[in-house]
């Protein structure tokens, strides 16, 4: 079935792109595009012995859009797509939608967001899929066969679909800053215990205010994003059909969800400031975004390096990053090369 994977993916992405451009999360809007593209016909004319493998392939491809790293709106589109494909397949009994154990928490979070924002059609479709037994509760997202998969090319993420809003805030969250600050303190202590001359300049390899610098950079980024992406933001939060009142209420709600990480960082900065008064050591670290205004992230991105660390010595980092989605960190690797470019263009100071 692999011969048509690329085409199916491209058709799904065309449908979801059109959905994205409507800036809506309404099922009504989605089904309009579905009908307009005659998407149900994607199953037509499949040879009998290929019906089941094809249904499997289509559902597996669509499942990806229902999960991170895609934006809330795309994930809604992904859910609608799964629902629509599931009920349009002509396989008896139908092929099931696969949901992996590791993705369950993400689905629950998604559900909570949808309930909080009162997107009843989203919740209804999701619950309906559960209720009509459309889901296989699995260990992994797809069947995996070691020898076969090796030749499969790495699929490319559709960047437009990825929510770029909260990445740095998600990564540099309160837990990480806390951890970083602790590690840093420890590092300074060790350094002073090793060297007798406290002011040896050869030892000043890191910034003394690493944690607050990092926090400051994220806040700057957040503020910049707020102003620059003001319009883009509406795409996710605003949506066509509802009344203005409802949509502005939702915009508020979503904004609050998104700035959660930022809020924590701000809170963090307060407590940190206290400590900085007490502890006035020369502090710094190589993980600093950049020392001199010019971006140093040009080498591997922080995320790429973090992902690498996770791969090597998983547990420690996993704990530190438990607030972020490690799964999306690893799946995002394919865009790691492109994404930093965007950030690089932005002058941090």
């Amino acid at each position: 079935m692999d011969f048509c994977r690329r085409h199916v993916k491209s058709d799904c992405e065309e449908l979801l792109s059109r959905f994205r451009r409507t800036q809506s999360v309404r099922f009504e809007i989605f089904s309009g595009i579905w009908r307009d593209m005659k998407f149900a016909s994607i199953f037509y004319g499949t040879m009998f012995h290929e019906k089941r493998p094809f249904a499997r392939l289509v559902l597996d491809i669509a499942s990806c859009y229902f999960l991170p790293p895609f934006s809330f709106q795309i994930r809604v589109g992904g859910l609608y797509l799964l629902h629509s494909l599931y009920h349009s397949q002509d396989t008896v009994p139908p092929e099931q939608i696969r949901l992996a154990l590791k993705d369950w928490e993400e689905v629950k979070k998604f559900e909570r967001d949808a309930v909080n924002a009162q997107h009843f059609d989203v919740v209804f479709i999701l619950h309906q899929l559960m209720s009509c037994k459309a889901i296989h509760f699995t260990a992994m997202p797809t069947l995996i066969m070691f020898p076969k998969k090796r030749k499969v090319e790495r699929s490319v993420l559709c960047e437009d679909f990825v929510e770029r809003v909260a990445r740095p805030q998600e990564l540099i969250n309160i837990d990480l800053l806390e951890e970083l600050s602790n590690v840093h303190e420890l590092y300074e202590k060790m350094k002073s215990s090793v060297t007798s001359q406290a002011e040896s300049s050869s030892m000043n390899l890191t910034h003394k205010d690493l944690t607050s610098r990092l926090r400051g950079a994220v806040i700057d980024f957040h503020n910049w994003q707020q102003t620059k992406n003001g319009v883009d933001e509406e795409e996710v939060s605003g949506e066509g059909t509802s009344s203005q009142l409802e949509s502005s209420k939702r915009a508020e709600l979503l904004a609050s969800i998104k700035s959660k990480a930022f809020g924590e960082a701000a809170e963090m900065c307060k407590s940190r400031r206290h400590r900085q008064v007490e502890v006035d050591h020369p502090v710094s670290e190589e993980e600093s975004p950049h020392p001199s205004g010019r971006s140093r992230i040009s080498k591997p991105s922080l995320r790429a390096r973090t992902a690498e660390n996770i791969h090597i010595s998983g547990e420690v980092w996993k704990e530190a990053l438990s607030r972020t989605t490690t799964s999306s960190l690893s799946t995002l690797e394919s865009t790691a090369e492109e994404k930093p470019k965007k950030i690089k263009r932005f002058k941090w100071r």
Partner: protein
């Protein structure tokens, strides 16, 4: 789904990739079951499907929405809204729409036009896929005790054939089995059909009736699976030997990490700790080696075959061409003869019927000179 809120206690045994799309890190198979059952409500994995009205009533109540809103939701989200054609016209779903803008369909049309131009008939694999399809669908058990309990796990297991005598052709010949977590490894072993188990040794021209009693399977019973550093030996019969001990001792003497042993018959699939997607080993008849890959682990579903008795269930079997009898060209060869004065060739293959008619008199006495060896065709297990 809304109700059961599981606080996220970090579960260390949630399966995740070691290499994305290739294989997972090792985990205990049964943890998939445990993981899901603590997260889902029983009705989420029950075989019972709640009726539409109950579902909608519950939904409206949980969301706190009025009957009016519910009615609107019902109509907006109806399956009718997915229909891509007018209500009174029914599209021919067996034909690729010629004017579609979907890339998948444009490709499918091209592919089918190309195939039609080649005038190739459906190949054997295609036909056989149909056969198995029929087997899988809609089997329900006769008695309640034969029903697979809700929340059980189903494993998909690929067993590959030794590559030595297959010509390389991208499709790795294998069989696919479905088993439950409460099956043990010996049940997997017994479900693996390999012709080397049916191989018969010896010349039987004087006593052709004796031949079937000397199957290798009955003769050389030792076998093992190898998963994640553990040899699982079949020790059910007194004649069974621990054939893994040679390897274990060799590894010990060469400073390899130590391997351990366990009994195949005492090991349930759900207790295995292994990587999904990763190739492991099954070895029998001394040196017949098969790769074994667990490709999937999931909760049982109402559309699965729920009759315990039909498991382990074969869902895919590679078919090979069979050697036919040199006389009737109809039946699969069962005998291999040499120095045979009645045979058109040397060696020669015969089906059982032709072989006996040609080589023995009515009382079963051997006629003429020849040597006869029982022959098991590779296609005999098709």
């Amino acid at each position: 789904m809304a109700a059961s809120e599981q606080s996220s206690v970090p579960d260390t045994d949630i399966p995740d990739y070691e290499y994305i799309g290739v294989n997972t890190k090792p985990f205990r198979i049964g943890s998939v079951r445990d993981g899901w059952l603590t997260r889902l409500r029983p009705k989420d994995y029950s075989y019972q499907q709640e009726d539409k009205d109950t579902f909608e009533a519950n939904f409206a109540e949980a969301m706190g929405i009025s009957e009016e809103t519910m009615a609107e939701l019902r109509s907006v989200c109806s399956l009718d809204s997915l229909r891509c054609h007018a209500e009174d016209e029914l599209p021919d779903t067996e034909v690729v729409p010629p004017d579609s803008t979907l890339k998948t369909l444009i490709q499918r049309k091209k592919r089918q036009d190309h195939k039609a131009s080649l005038k190739v008939n459906k190949n054997r694999h295609d036909l056989y896929a149909d056969e198995l399809e029929r087997l899988i669908v809609g089997r329900t058990p006769k008695t309640e005790s034969d029903r697979i309990p809700e929340g059980e796990i189903i494993l998909t297991i690929n067993v590959y054939y030794p590559a030595v005598f297959e010509k390389f052709n991208y499709i790795r010949p294998h069989m696919t089995l479905l088993m439950t977590g409460s099956h043990n490894l010996t049940e997997l072993r017994d479900a693996i059909c390999c012709i080397s188990d049916l191989q018969v040794c010896g010349e039987f021209s004087r006593t052709p009736d004796m031949a079937p009693d000397f199957l290798c399977k009955d003769h050389f019973k030792s076998a093992f699976f190898f998963f994640e550093g553990v040899f699982y030996n079949d020790m059910r019969f007194p004649e069974c030997q621990d054939i893994s001990i040679t390897t274990i001792n060799w590894a010990k003497s060469h400073n390899f990490p130590p391997f351990t042993q366990a009994k195949m018959e005492d090991t349930l699939l759900q207790d295995l700790k292994l990587k999904v997607g990763f190739p492991y080993l099954y070895c029998h008849q001394g040196d017949c080696e098969h790769l074994v890959i667990i490709t999937d682990v999931r909760l049982v579903h109402k559309y699965d075959c729920l009759d315990k008795k039909l498991y382990p269930m074969l869902t895919h079997k590679h078919k090979v061409l069979t050697q036919k009898c040199a006389v009737c060209h109809l039946f699969i060869a069962r005998w291999y003869t040499t120095s045979d004065q009645f045979a058109p060739s040397d060696p020669c293959l015969f089906c059982d019927k032709c072989f006996r008619m040609l080589h023995y008199d009515a009382d079963g006495n051997k006629l003429g000179e020849f040597s006869a060896y029982p022959y098991v065709d590779r296609g005999a297990l098709n």
